[in-house]
């Protein structure tokens, strides 16, 4: 981590927090977890894959926080409830939840004229049902801590995607869910926001290698000319939304995409 960034972090985010991040076994979720660890927060990696989840938890601890793993299938009510009970039993409180998990079908090209109901159920189950199941469990805890709920959406949720149509649909729906839930939970002191990242990932780097034209398309419209870093660019922006510094920010979708998305 850059030294100047460490100084900045300690002044911006002073309060200790207990955070749960779904689907944080890699990519953007991992980046958010490590960014929260940088400022000493306690971070629970809530995911199905234990080995990968524990590895990220270890990285959080190495970054300066306290990383923990809890098994969680966000599309299943009993699993979500059990995971949140574990967090509260072990940590005693909950300050923030990041719903980052997406269906394994998210990167699979598909048009609406050919998608199956079962495939759609996978997208909706993780992105939307998962958000609802989490909301039901975390509301009393976030009300007590005056905490924050953050949904990870995508620029696809603004502009749509010709090749990833079901994914774009659920990402757009998450934005609507945020703007309505923020209005419902505001009087309880709970903030609800969304963040739309564009970041490097093993999958995207592999895709660039196999299809150089894709890299040209993605980066050609990006004013900064690069993909975001999952920790330094996306993770710290997410951490801001979870922190007390964003105490008056709610119902908002923050684009962290280097200016790529043309939606206004």
């Amino acid at each position: 981590m850059r030294e100047d960034a460490r100084m900045k972090d300690t002044t911006l985010t002073p309060a200790h927090k207990v955070v749960v991040i779904t689907g944080a076994t890699g990519g953007v979720g991992r980046g958010i977890a490590i960014a929260c660890g940088e400022v000493g927060w306690e971070v629970w990696i809530a995911a199905r894959r234990k080995v990968e989840g524990e590895a990220v938890a270890q990285e959080v601890s190495e970054a300066g926080g306290r990383g923990r793993y809890v098994e969680c299938d966000v599309a299943t009510g009993d699993s979500v409830a059990a995971a949140i009970r574990t967090v509260v039993r072990e940590s005693g409180r909950l300050d923030a939840v990041v719903h980052n998990a997406t269906s394994g079908l998210s990167p699979v090209p598909k048009r609406l004229s050919e998608v199956t109901t079962r495939e759609l159920e996978s997208h909706v189950g993780v992105a939307l049902r998962g958000a609802w199941l989490l909301a039901r469990e975390i509301h009393p805890l976030l009300r007590e801590s005056r905490g924050s709920f953050l949904l990870m959406t995508s620029e696809a949720g603004f502009e749509g995607k010709a090749r990833l149509q079901p994914y774009a649909g659920v990402k757009g729906a998450q934005r609507g869910l945020v703007r309505a839930l923020a209005r419902e939970w505001g009087r309880d002191g709970i903030r609800v926001n969304a963040l739309a990242p564009l970041a490097s990932s093993p999958a995207m780097e592999s895709a660039f290698e196999h299809e150089p034209a894709m890299a040209e398309r993605v980066l050609g419209r990006n004013p900064l000319g690069r993909l975001g870093d999952t920790v330094e660019d996306v993770g710290r922006a997410a951490r801001f939304l979870l922190s007390d510094d964003a105490g008056y920010v709610t119902a908002h979708t923050l684009m962290v995409d280097g200016g790529s998305c043309p939606a206004t």
């Binding site: 004229s113 759609l120 949720g157 502009e159 149509q165 649909g169 309505a180």
Partner: protein, 226 residues
């Protein structure tokens, strides 16, 4: 299993040829949707009930196999829900208000994309609360923004063959009156299906909108500002 909402003649060659400007409306059978179809001179093609998700794919494929038409309007229309906080929705309400309609929206827009002729136009009419009125309507707000992303996806995929895809939003059957200040700029909120809503759709379908795709018009008297 019969294909819901698709009447196939015994001999397809006996079908009356459709007008080059023909319009179909994919929507539930209801008074409101029939009034909309009449206002737009569209043929109403019923969608299956949102509870019958096992029929969705067969319905989509049946509609998609029909003759190409110039204009397709899609409205997975609800006759209304009382506002309920998200935390008060049980499994049944969540499925009825969000998952069922949203799954059907995906497949209905897929049918629309397949059915729309080159150079044609698709409009999604989606019930969505404005930001000020969104409390109690989380499922509908989610569907509203989800459909916008879907219609923009369709605009991107079908644009190369000249097909335009846009959306109209309305609070009709969700919000009866605006309770939070400021009041909508225009009187008559939340509007009428066969006047204000039909007018916005008619404009987007027309050649006057030949340069518009991926756009969203809120037909709500100015309640929504985007």
């Amino acid at each position: 299993m019969p294909v819901v909402g698709v009447e196939t003649p015994d001999d397809p060659s006996q079908e009356e040829p459709l007008s080059p400007n023909s319009t179909i409306l994919l929507a539930p059978r209801s008074d409101a949707m029939q009034r909309l179809a009449d206002a737009l001179e569209a043929e109403l093609v019923p969608v299956p009930p949102v509870s019958d998700r096992e029929d969705f794919e067969e319905w989509r494929d049946g509609v998609a196999a029909g003759r190409a038409v110039a204009h397709v309007i899609v409205a997975v229309w609800s006759e209304g829900e009382a506002p309920d906080p998200l935390l008060e929705l049980d499994e049944s309400a969540w499925t009825r208000r969000l998952e069922g309609p949203f799954l059907l929206w995906n497949l209905a827009l897929g049918a629309a994309a397949a059915r729309c002729d080159d150079g044609g136009s698709i409009v999604a009419l989606v019930q969505s609360p404005s930001a000020l009125d969104a409390a109690g309507f989380t499922p509908e707000a989610a569907i509203g923004d989800g459909v916008v992303a879907l219609i923009r996806s369709v605009a991107a995929s079908e644009g190369p063959r000249g097909v335009r895809a846009n959306a109209v939003t309305t609070p009709l059957r969700l919000v009866e009156r605006a309770t939070l200040a400021p009041a909508p700029p225009l009187p008559g909120y939340p509007g009428r299906i066969d006047v204000e809503v039909a007018g916005a759709i008619r404009m987007l379908l027309s050649e006057d909108a030949c340069g518009l795709t991926g756009r969203v018009l809120a037909a709500d008297g100015g309640r929504t500002l985007t």
